[in-house]
Amino acid sequence: MSDRPPLAASPTASPPASPRRAFLKQTLKAVSASVALPTYLPARALGKDGHVAPSNRIVLAGVGIGPRGRYDLQVMLPEKDVQFVTICDVQRSRREAVKAMVDAHYGHRDCTMVRDMFEVYARPDIDAVLVATGDHWHALASILAMKAGKDVYSEKPCGMTIGEVQALSAAADRYGRVFQAGTQRRSLANFQYAAHLARSGALGQLHTLHASVYTPSRRYDWLPAEPEPPIEEVDWDRWLGPSPWRPYNHQYVAGRWRGHYDFEGAANFPDWGAHTLDLCQWANRADDTVPLTYEADERGIVATYANGVKLICDFLPTPFGNRDPHYTTSTGTCPVRYEGDEGTVETGDNGELVLTGNIAKSKQRRFAKPGTSAQGHGRNFFDCVKSRSRPVCHQEVMRRSHIACFAAQLSWELGRKLTFDPATERFVDDEEANRRRHRATRAPWSLHV
């Protein structure tokens, strides 16, 4: 075990918001006092030949970029107003893989590589950060970035507990940063339309929402201890970060942390749930609340909203295979179904819409670009970075849909019905459940920075 203490978790002084831009603005003002320069980013002049001028680009960094992060980058790099400049990862092999990808895209060798995220956060030229670490780092890496004045796109699940997503949401509010959760299905046409049908009343009175999830599972064992590699190869202590200590094994850092209690929140429930419950929240116009009660059985978890609508989280025995009897397999992974008294709509990653009832024919649509691409979601984030708007999956949307996941999973974990108060975000008369809203972090790492 390493006896090296983790680095201090809280940089003491955060740089002011977008100082690079402020500097550019001041400089430009000084040299051209007679020209009325807009202070809003999109107002700045475009470069020649349709290229976005450097002063108008969003300078992006990546923290913890493995396979999923590289997928995100693949769709973000083509954005003409985004310049990816640095990769931070505790693993040398991942740093080098991302640098190769980025340099190949831009046709130069300028992408820098760092091991310590605080080096990234201290750079005043960086506007935004893509956080795609393992789940156990999502919340803290995002909070530290926002405290340092960066806008954040975080992969989901954005936290491991109710406490973590509350701290994350509070940090985004406190530091006035743009935050987008990587629940990209809100930016995809088929899911948007399905939600529109539910929200607009086309299904009649909404009564039941179905969200597909994995059957929850977790493991407590440790993989066999192996000698720690040199810190430049893998910084194991930093990889662990806020998680309890355990000995190194190369499989964790290669992505096989999944399923381990200390590294994956809520027994695998939010892996799909962060998407599917989020979509149901949206369909039910419930972005400002969460279901009040949660009760688990062997097939899933039934949650009930204050308006009486039921949210049924269906445990799928074969999520990537036959999804009967809950869903039409043809709609693909991450399916959701909304049921009203005049019709139902089901959709999933294949982009198909399965409609029943009065609307079966009249409201059918077929979209040109179905799929799971995060491109539109990333674009929404970058637009908001510029306009200082709230993205479609901003911190409050994220907090509540994640809370619904965690509360549902806790009802499974505790084996009893739980009642949740959306106003105080606490379980009602249940000390045991309330204590499980948090997990102890390994000191000195703390979410409250």
Binding site: S10, A13, A43, R174, W245, Q364, R365, D383, E431, P444
Partner: protein, 591 residues
């Protein structure tokens, strides 16, 4: 208990009769592995009782196990864990002590506040590096507890000259203001935020202004901050107002927009996306004419975000601008479809018609079908083609007669192939497809020459419409060899093996044989395939025919296949293929 977490544990066989006893024994065992002790702590956190608390105490000092022990102590209900953590403040150090302080905050053990404030007072002001983590953890924990005594200590730290102390104290102020005990006391919250605004570092001051706006979300407060010289303050005001939309604020933003310089207008246009009222769309529509970029782009985005028929009408005159078209494509609301469809009924020119069709296609709306049909009949050739391609997702049996008629009309036009391809799609999407097949068969029957018959025959073959088989096969009797060959080729594309019987009636010829070889491959019934293969076997002559024949034998698990394969095993032209087919048959049989 149903099939929930504990039942799941039992099902895994990981829990014995009294699981906690085993876990406690593990903690007491000096020879137990660290992993076993860690796991015992985790399990005790989920199912442990007060009896476990004393056994967790020694783990608090253990550098590898203290987080596991704290996690358990934070989760086991009751007071014993709280007492242990309070006491542990005196006998832990380093990171273990920091962890204990964090747990005191998590569990709101306010009895520890005097000890925490004393330790804070004892820290030297000038040696931030050495004591930084302790200072930060202690101050944040005091903020998390947020009693009067705790906040007094926090505010004192905020007013020092030490920037590190100031920064952490500001965070503690924010945590304190958010504490449930202050939730219903905005005056107290305001006092904490004002303290940070007045005494904090620059970035914390901005955060405090954001919090103060949330407490006092009036139009005048927002407008004041939106006009700030400080970009960071403008940014936080912009983001904060999104969470506090109101009719009054929307009206105030409209008013401010009228008088503002362009740079300010951009801010306000963006703000109106999330803070609008019934007047916003007409207001922005009035503002659009004569506006240049980048403000025009911002107004497009805001109108697109707000959606609805009025917003769509406002964007329609700007179809030539790509971002306006993108906005129309993304805009929510069924009324948007109506506006676009109405516009497509009488477009000003071909270019507008093209753009409208593209936007409606991106929107995926079935409501556009009648307008697409109209353009397919009346538009210029380019518009016709686009309309025909765009309507494909929506066509079915109802549209077949119309598309048949269009296919006749456009037979020699550039869009003729598009009409036929759309008709093919309509046939496939017909319910049932055989009803469309019957309509197309009539066209085939009335066609007067082979050239006129061919398009309809192609459609019927693609559909596999069996009642048409004999009618198509009539051309096999043609005196023109090209017609016969092309009919054979067409029948070979039938989606199942229905034409084989008819083809076997013909005198042997290579094109018919090729067609039959293709058709046999469509059958998944081994018995049926073997039967066909046996019947065509005498016709196999060329090397290419042999190879195709052997390929089919290799995929037909039937005793006949081996018999038919036999002569080829010694045929030097195809011996390798035959041996490979035999191996394949053996492997398939084993499966």
């Amino acid at each position: 208990m149903k099939t929930t977490f504990l039942a799941w544990l039992l099902g895994l066989g990981t829990v014995i009769a009294d699981p906690t006893a085993a876990w406690l024994a593990t903690l007491q065992n000096p020879h137990a592995a660290i992993e076993a002790k860690a796991r015992a702590c985790q399990r005790l956190g989920e199912a442990g009782t007060q009896a476990a608390i004393p056994h967790l105490a020694p783990m608090l000092r253990d550098p590898a196990l203290n987080t596991y022990a704290r996690a358990a102590l934070e989760r086991i209900p009751g007071d014993a864990g709280r007492r242990l953590l309070y006491d542990a403040l005196d006998w832990t150090d380093g990171n273990a002590r920091l962890g204990v302080i964090q747990s005191l905050g998590a569990l709101q053990i306010v009895e520890a506040i005097p000890k925490l404030t004393q330790s804070l007072d004892a820290l030297p002001h000038s040696d931030g590096e050495a004591h930084g983590p302790l200072l930060a953890t202690t101050l944040r924990t005091l903020g998390q507890m947020a009693t009067e005594e705790a906040m007094r200590a926090v505010l004192t730290a905020l007013r020092t000259e030490d920037p590190k102390r100031k920064s952490v104290a500001a965070t503690a102020c924010f945590l304190g203001a958010a504490h449930p005990r202050h939730r219903d006391h905005p005056d107290r919250q305001r006092s904490f935020y004002e303290a940070v605004r007045d005494h904090g570092l620059a970035s914390d001051r901005v955060a405090a202004i954001g919090h103060l706006l949330r407490l006092d979300p009036t139009p005048s407060a927002f407008l004041t901050q939106l006009a700030s010289e400080d970009e960071a303050i403008r940014q936080i005001a912009l983001l904060t107002l999104r969470a506090h939309p109101s009719d009054a604020l929307a009206n105030a933003l409209h008013e401010a927009f009228r008088e503002a310089p362009v740079s300010q207008k951009l801010l306000l246009a963006s703000a109106l996306r999330d803070c609008s009222n019934a007047n916003t769309v007409p207001f922005l529509a009035d503002a659009l004419p004569g506006t240049g970029d980048p403000l025009r782009q911002a107004l497009f985005q805001t109108l697109s975000h707000l959606g609805g028929g009025q917003a769509a009408s406002a964007l329609l005159p700007f179809l030539e601008v790509a971002s306006a078209r993108q906005g129309l494509a993304r805009m929510p609301g069924a009324l948007v479809d109506s506006v676009l469809v109405q516009a497509l009924r009488a477009p000003d020119n071909d270019q507008d018609a093209t753009w409208l069709i593209q936007v409606l296609t991106d929107r995926g709306s079935a409501d556009a079908l009648p307008a697409f049909i109209r353009q397919a009949r009346e538009g210029s050739p380019e518009v016709q083609s686009l309309a025909l391609r765009s309507m494909r997702p929506w066509v079915g049996l109802n549209e077949v007669p119309l598309l048949v008629s269009l296919s006749h009309e456009l037979r020699n036009a550039p869009s003729g192939e598009d009409a036929l391809a759309t008709l093919a799609r309509a046939c496939r999407q017909s319910d049932p497809p055989s009803a469309a097949g019957a309509l197309i068969l009539k066209e085939l029957q009335t066609a007067v020459n082979p050239e006129g018959r061919r398009p309809w025959a192609r459609l019927l073959v693609a559909l596999g419409h069996e009642p048409a088989l004999e009618e198509i096969a009539r051309d096999l009797a043609s005196e023109t060899d090209a017609v016969v060959q092309s009919t054979l080729h067409l029948l070979g594309a039938w989606p199942n093996d229905a034409p084989i019987a008819r083809l076997l009636e013909l005198e042997a010829n290579p094109e018919a044989l090729r067609a039959m070889l293709r058709l046999i491959a469509t059958s998944e019934d081994a018995e049926r395939r073997a039967g066909w293969l046996q019947r065509i076997a005498p016709q196999i002559a060329s090397e290419a025919e042999k190879k195709a024949f052997i390929g089919l034998l290799g995929g037909t698990v039937h005793p006949t296949s081996l018999t038919l394969l036999e002569p080829y095993l010694t045929d030097p032209e195809v011996r390798e293929e035959a041996l490979s087919a035999r191996d394949s048959l053996e492997a398939l049989k084993q499966e």
